[in-house]
């Protein structure tokens, strides 16, 4: 039994005199560390982060790989960029789920009562999820390489491809953050989080060439950010001979535009939403 006799402790002074943006960064780092610790410590999350993507690579490679024909190349080379995009898009959903969970558990209320930066909870979480997605992509690259994925081109193009992929991951996390803050319950964040990701990733060029789809679906699939990014990656990795340099450049520009557009909209509305939200 606690025998609390005296609670008068030392009153430590907060650090003062630092500009707000420095605190926004420092606070975000404290919270990013928290999210990363959680990922490392929860066994189920490791399954989501590492094992599930590996299974996807193997299943698509060996189950669908024989049946799906892609023009002028090997399916594994066509597939890997698509799987990358799909994985980071699904990975983004966890951002919203975690935030909804923090809300339910009253953590967001506590954070909001502290004299900390009001963007830090969101940036900390999205940056941690970005790091986690990068880790997943690295694992998938290794597995992909083992099953025959061979990107061509120069290292700069390869790295640029990964960079854009990470930009996309970050952008999707912010959409997901907004969804999580709006729905406020883990269950709702799960269903609302995935419901729009499924059509987006499967009605796209991620797994099959768009030309094989019915024409009404092609219109959607072609302009879908998932397709645009998958095509940009295929161009940068030189795994689809059908793509010209001009195609690649255009896909890349569209990808970057999507990323910036999403961030420009969802960062401010998510932070605004965060400032007014409370648990029920």
């Amino acid at each position: 039994m606690a025998s609390v006799t005296a609670l008068a402790g030392t009153r430590y002074r907060p650090i003062s005199g630092r500009p707000a943006f420095v605190w926004a960064l420092l606070d975000a780092m404290v919270l990013a560390r928290r999210s990363i610790l959680e990922t490392i410590r929860v066994p189920e999350l490791i399954v989501f982060v590492a094992i599930q993507p590996i299974m996807f690579v193997l299943l698509f490679r060996y189950v669908f790989g024989g049946a799906i024909q892609v023009p002028g190349g090997q399916y594994v080379n066509f597939l890997m960029p698509g799987i990358f995009v799909q994985t980071v898009a699904f990975g983004g959903v966890t951002t919203g789920i975690s935030l909804a969970q923090d809300m339910q558990r009253g953590l967001i209320d506590r954070f909001r009562s502290l004299p900390m930066s009001s963007s830090a909870v969101l940036t900390g979480r999205t940056v941690a999820d970005l790091a986690r997605n990068l880790f997943t992509v690295v694992i998938m690259l290794i597995v992909g390489f083992l099953v025959g994925f061979r990107p061509g081109g120069i290292p700069f193009e390869f790295l640029l491809g990964i960079l854009v992929l990470m930009g996309f991951s970050f952008a999707f996390s912010w959409i997901s953050a907004f969804v999580g803050l709006m729905v406020r319950s883990v269950e709702a964040a799960q269903s609302f989080g995935f419901i729009w990701i499924f059509p987006l990733t499967f009605a796209s060029s991620a797994f099959v060439p768009v030309a094989t789809m019915p024409s009404w679906l092609q219109a959607f699939a072609r302009h879908n950010p998932v397709s645009v990014l998958a095509d940009a990656l295929r161009g940068l990795f030189h795994v689809n001979p059908a793509l010209t340099a001009a195609d690649t450049r255009w896909a890349l520009i569209q990808s970057v535009a999507w990323i910036l557009g999403i961030l420009l909209v969802f960062i401010p509305i998510s932070v605004l939403r965060y400032r007014r939200t409370t648990a029920r």
Binding site: S3, V4, L7, A8, T10, Y12, I15, Q104, R105
Partner: protein
């Protein structure tokens, strides 16, 4: 800075759609005291706490905390308060120490100070043995203690505790009471909400009874009890024939206002000096050869107070459904 009251609210109004959660709430907490906001589920306690801690903006009225306006100076307030909300807000996957250090960092203590302070708190809250275990493994009582510790990281001038013992077993509840009493004894200013009348009675300097978003009674525990008539002494005698003589003794000792229930062979009267009068009554009955079968001092509980207050209100206007349910349970 003029600090009139540590917490001061006037006419607070908050609507959630059609639900009026706060309906002109007035209250104040004196510095160095504990005010219990006592009310049934849905009375508006959490909403009030959220407005004071700047999590929600009021739709009407004014509130100041630690001398700052909740709407105009939320950032100043945040640096002067601690909040332990209705749900335990700790990170399950971090250890107790990591949790406290994180909160310290977010209050903008240096890394070194955040660590020192967390170690200090772990000792004070008897969590040293569990300091390096993930909070997931903590018992309910330990979680509450860690949560309370987290709200004390900067020793805030004003502390808000929203139902700090709800869901705890009696033993852990007693322990929390001990901690909270110590805080008050050491001069903390606390606004505590509770559904437990016993808890308010035990901890509070003053109690504000809140129902349907409004304070319906306010005062010390004793003052509230006075409203339902104060202490009474009840006696039951063994033989019918003794009842009259017993009443005479009681009138002498208590007051002329003694009521007699001859069916039950019971009588009762108001008592100003409870326990001492009990003792002298026993002596007098003994001396007079009156055999008694029961003798008790009935102190009105806050249940009585609440029922008296809302019972009256229920006749005047419609009481909201939650308080009705609660009143039934309390009776």
């Amino acid at each position: 800075m003029v600090v009139d009251h540590a917490v001061h609210a006037e006419g607070l109004v908050k609507n959630f759609g059609r639900v009026r959660a706060l309906d002109g709430l007035n209250l104040h907490v004196d510095e160095g005291s504990l005010l219990a906001l006592l009310g049934p589920n849905g009375a508006g306690k959490t909403t009030a706490v959220r407005i004071f801690t700047t999590l929600l903006k009021p739709d009407g009225g004014q509130a100041r905390v630690a001398g700052f306006d909740v709407v105009k100076e939320p950032d100043r307030i945040k640096a002067h308060i601690g909040l332990a909300g209705q749900t335990v807000a700790i990170d399950e996957f971090m250890t107790g120490q990591e949790n406290l250090e994180m909160i310290g960092r977010l209050y903008h203590l240096s890394g070194k100070d955040a660590k020192r302070r967390s170690l200090e708190l772990l000792v004070q809250f008897d969590l040293t043995d569990a300091a390096n275990r993930s909070a997931k493994t903590y018992s309910g009582g330990m979680r509450r203690r860690l949560d309370l510790a987290a709200s004390l990281v900067i020793l805030p001038p004003v502390l808000f505790l929203d139902e700090p013992t709800t869901g705890l077993d009696p033993r852990s509840r007693r322990q929390m009471w001990g901690i909270i009493s110590t805080l008050v004894a050491e001069g903390s200013t606390i606004l505590l909400t509770t559904q437990y009348l016993e808890e308010a009675d035990e901890l509070a300097n003053r109690i504000a009874v809140v129902d349907a978003g409004r304070v319906i009674a306010e005062g010390t525990s004793d003052e509230l009890k006075q409203r339902v008539g104060g202490d009474r002494i009840e006696v039951a005698v063994a033989r019918d024939g003794d009842l009259g003589r017993a009443a005479e003794v009681a009138r002498r000792q208590l007051s002329s206002d003694v009521s007699i229930d001859s069916h039950q062979r019971r009588l009762s009267g108001p008592s100003r000096d409870g326990t001492r009068q009990l003792a002298s009554l026993v002596r007098e009955f003994d001396a007079a050869g009156i055999e008694i079968t029961d003798l008790q001092l009935h102190r009105p509980s806050l249940d009585d107070v609440f029922l008296t207050l809302t019972g009256r209100q229920a006749e005047e206007e419609k009481t909201s459904e939650p308080s009705r349910r609660w009143a039934r349970r309390a009776s």
